[in-house]
Symmetry: C2
Subunit: 338 residues, 2 copies
DNA sequence: CTGAAAGCGCTTACAG
DNA sequence: CTGAAAGCGCTTACAG
């Protein structure tokens, strides 16, 4: 391994001066700098990340804490991870994966090791015990999602208000007046307080009121089978509904396939609009789905950027709320003539 | 931060002795040990991972190098990551994400930082330039996948031979005699040499020969749309085929939906068997798909275990080839009477 | 603009 | 069984 000592010797300077040019920490005379840079190139020097971390008290490592397999994160999560890791790399950082459960003790242990400068907290609950652990440890963190009152914390999240507004506007423009929002099943203990459901439902109530519509809300599990079951409930309990906004992407596949199987035309008889969908979803269904696409990559990037800003001790970065964007395909159209 | 110095002072010993009990490195008298453990508990000591790493020359950090979004890794990849990270944690390690391209220079830079003890290389090509980089840097690594001749390297991979054998056996037992294997499109430059395709095709040739069947091989892109297009080719060019084994899971969804749209009953007229599928796939389709399920979690675990063994300098862990397992649902059945 | 030196918090021969 | 001390490869006041 080539160390600063080696570089310093070859350039005829002290290791402090080498450090100054490597980090740009202090001005160095042009010719000295040139000699050092030459020596580094000759020897193939790379600054050791561990020694740097110990001396500077900054590891430049960030942790991504996510509850392993608690829900179907799958494809959005991978987009998110990749974007976050790439952003971290661009800003001279690394990203470690902490697939910790929502219980706080495990997180506390990991923090104690002193390996990371900050934590990105995914799948935040409205009342999240992990936040207290992070605060007590004075560990910088950013929320991906929001607690009930996220004001005191650095956070980035989907803008559910704007997402619902755009979705409703799209359907309303097409002529739909009987819309339903399918939110997630909250019977699961961990899900009672799940922010995306709570906020979307509230946003739908408000938006529907603004349009003078009745805000019908249904719940569904996450699987395609749950989506199929939903199709039955819809036909039986809400036969007049002409458009469905649905938050679970796998369930939307089951919903569409069961609706078609039972003779409903999509989008002729009923429009289907998945709300927080990943890139792959549209093409997985027939007809291709119009979606509100999840801003996974943007959230990953912004989460890391915000966290690094916070760690650097600059100003506290403002919250970032990013709406899903409408991507039109073939599952929404004007309602049938009535 | 509580350091070993603090613990040593409170227990009335030297920091060396504290280190011995923390790591179990050397025998320590029972009462001394008790005093130290009490002091650690009182102070809430946690050994600093960075200092440990610098002194011991082992960071206990592993890197997961994967080409970001080169293909559709999505859901299997997340299972893999999570399993790998959890295994790492269980063995006192961390996992960092390196979404590096397949080009070797970037990997070399990262290795140079000295942050990681070893690298897990995903999406290995038959002739992979990254392997040379790793070898030159004397960086321990394990392949997830295989180079053309993986013998010299620690590797874990899907056992394509056994997977194809079980898939063919399943279909043959049902009575199918006209099978087709749908492999991936290799027109993409990076894909010409893609191991999973190459090995599956070879395995199918061999297995078909053993059964006295004609080994028809088609290629398809990864998307659902590509799967739909495939349905047309199948009907037109291979009308007598009664069973399709297919390697791309999204394409299998398009294939099934297009077959049904054009009036083919599944599994009545034709059986469909996705070969390296993730857990979610079966329920995403109607009928639910019988699959050969990808051993993502097992590969993640074995990859990390093998790599840690290698890093620890023990014996070189043997290759691990894990077959996909047959999970029967509703897309395979006896062929129609002819 | 540059250097000598302390120090980050551990591990690990070495000595006793 | 335990301790004193060197050392891992950097950063960072401090002095000049």
């Amino acid at each position: 391994m080539v160390t600063m000592r080696d570089v310093a010797d070859r350039a005829g300077v002290s290791i402090a001066t080498v450090s100054f040019v490597v980090n740009g920490t202090k001005p160095v005379a042009a010719d000295t700098r040139t000699r050092i840079e030459q020596a580094m190139a000759d020897l193939g020097f790379r600054r050791n990340a561990v020694a740097r971390a110990l001396a500077s008290r900054r590891t430049h490592i960030l942790a991504m804490a996510y509850p392993a397999l608690d829900h179907d994160l799958s494809s959005s999560a991978l987009e998110f991870f990749t974007s976050a890791a790439a952003t971290a790399a661009r800003l001279d950082h690394h990203l470690v994966l902490w697939p910790v459960s929502n219980d706080a003790a495990e997180l506390k242990e990991l923090i104690g090791e002193g390996l990371v400068d900050g934590v990105l907290l995914m799948e935040v609950q409205l009342d999240d015990p992990r936040v207290a652990v992070l605060e007590a440890a004075r560990m910088p963190f950013a929320l991906i999602g929001r607690t009930a009152d996220p004001t005191p914390y650095v956070h980035v999240d989907i803008d559910f208000d704007a997402t619902i507004r755009e979705a409703v506007a799209h359907l309303h423009e097409l002529g739909h007046r009987r819309l339903v929002l399918v939110s997630g099943d909250r019977s699961d203990p961990g899900m009672i307080d799940y922010g995306p459901y709570v906020r979307s439902e509230a946003a739908f109530q408000a938006t529907a009121e603004a349009y003078g519509l009745e805000p019908t809300i249904l719940r569904s599990g996450t699987t395609a089978a749950a989506g199929r079951e939903l199709a039955g409930r819809l036909a039986h309990d809400h036969p007049d509904v002409t458009a469905v906004m649905i938050m679970r992407e796998y369930a939307s596949l089951g919903l569409v396939s069961e609706l078609r199987r039972t003779g409903r035309d999509i989008p002729g008889d009923i429009s289907v609009l998945p709300l927080v969908a990943s890139r792959e979803l549209p093409s997985l269904s027939d007809p291709a789905l119009t979606i509100m696409r999840s801003p996974g990559p943007e959230l990953g990037r912004l989460g890391v950027e915000s966290l690094i800003t916070l760690v650097a001790g600059g100003s506290v970065p403002p919250p970032q709320l990013i709406p899903c964007r409408l991507e039109i395909a073939s599952s929404t159209a004007p309602p049938p003539e009535s």
